[in-house]
């Protein structure tokens, strides 16, 4: 059974329709990469999963719980704020700009929500946080403040913070877009390790090579719709869709330009 099911998702902003009837599902253990041009709705789709954006109409089911459904008048109906919070705890978000809490050390960043929200003791939370920092290769930075870290290190702490809440689905919103090119590798490695551990992940990315290597499935979005949805091979190499060819051509050109 799918761990995430989205059907007929419409997100209408004041002047534009960011999502225009999207059907999207993710199986447990799957790594899905969402690619597409800027403004195609990739990030909006991701943000609808954990309620940072509320949809206009459609239905979202997370791990068997209905986060939102559409009533007879065609309007999306959400449950109480408390219920939304409970359901969305199954998802963890990693942001483009990390969004670490600057007034807390790395370990406090990681422990804060498990203690406040999951009701863990300080000792439990600290032990988990140390393991997670170890996993992302930052065991020695536990007491450092975010301002003392490089972008890549900040993002790794942010991943550890997300994992500490033990979500079923990890959402990555362009996790490497704010980083210097030489720092993206360390993030991609952590995500690859998580994929090998069969964590369920949805990754919005512009890293085509990475998407091809790490994703089980690639979704190509354009103008608020899913245009193609299949294996990396099927979407990146075999698709004849002109929008995809045009989009990939740009990356191809950049690659060639570097070689020449």
């Amino acid at each position: 059974m799918a761990i995430l099911e989205m059907t007929g998702i419409v997100k209408q902003f004041k002047t534009c329709r960011a999502l225009d009837g999207v059907d999207f599902a993710v199986e447990a253990g799957e790594t899905v990469a969402i690619i597409g041009p800027s403004g195609s709705g990739k990030s909006t789709l991701l943000r609808c999963v954990n309620c940072l954006e509320k949809i206009t109409s459609g239905k979202i089911i997370i791990d068997g719980d209905t986060l939102v459904d559409t009533n007879n008048e065609g309007k999306a109906v959400y449950p109480s704020e408390k219920e939304i919070r409970r359901i969305c705890l199954e998802t963890g978000m990693i942001f483009q700009h990390f969004n670490l809490f600057p007034h807390m050390s790395c370990i406090e960043n990681i422990c804060y929500a498990p203690i406040k929200v999951r009701g863990k003791t300080k000792e439990e939370a600290m032990a988990t946080a140390k393991d997670l920092l170890e996993m992302v290769g930052l065991a020695d930075k536990a007491e450092a403040y975010p301002v003392q870290l490089s972008g890549g290190q900040k993002q790794r702490v942010a991943i550890a913070r997300g994992l500490a809440m033990e979500p079923s689905i990890l959402l990555f919103d362009e996790p490497t877009s704010a980083l210097d090119p030489e720092l993206t590798g360390e993030i991609l490695k952590v995500i690859r390790d998580l994929a090998n551990l069969k964590r369920t992940m949805i990754i919005v990315t512009h890293e085509m090579a990475f998407a091809r290597d790490v994703a089980d499935r690639i979704v190509f979005m354009d103008e608020g719709k899913i245009v193609e949805n299949g294996t990396p091979q099927a979407v990146l190499s075999e698709s004849q869709n002109p929008r995809i060819r045009q989009f990939l051509q740009r990356f191809h050109d950049v690659g060639q330009g570097l070689q020449n």
Binding site: N50, C51, P102, M165
Partner: protein, 233 residues
Amino acid sequence: MGTFFAELSETLAYVGELMPALLSGALVTVELFILTLLFALPLGLPFALGSNSRIAPLRWLSKTYIWLFRGTPLMLQLFFFYFFLIPLINRTTSLQIDEFATALITFSLNYAAYFAEIYRGGIESIDRGQYEAAKSLGLTKRQTMFGIILPQTVKRVLPPISNEAITLIKDTALVSVISVGELLKATRGAVNRDVNPTAYLIAALIYLFFTFLLTMLSRYLEKRYSKYDVKGD
């Protein structure tokens, strides 16, 4: 040369005579200053949160409060409380509020309005990403505000708060109009009695000394809160 030293020692002797009266006035000034901050600093917070609230009546109430207290002269507010509101309370209840308490109430309410606006600005300057991160970690609105947003706001509001504090120490001079015996009133008393303006100079030096202390204190606090924040970041 001899007459110069003679005059100097005469002046110093006069200053020495003035000091007890001026210092006891200064003590009242300091008391009013500290107590006003003690009440106004926390009182500003509910009005700051209120004016950003999703609950319309709360928002309306907070904004009206801030508008009233920032929109009229502090002196006028002092007169209003002293000649109208406080006598009414004293007549109709068992409370007996004196001049100093009247000044304290007026100042606290007035400064709370300014602090509320400073807090509101500080809260709004925090990046939206902080709210989103908190929300995605399952924190409630209250946990987000008190655990994530407000602690970061402290550092940002320190400079405008210390600015207000410096204004406050000088504003305390206003309460001489409702005959609270603070520094300026004591000074004017001495000048009128002795027909000698030296006391004004001493008073100025005392006010300057207070603002100097405040400047040092705010510099120390800003430094303390800057450990997680680097300039230009």
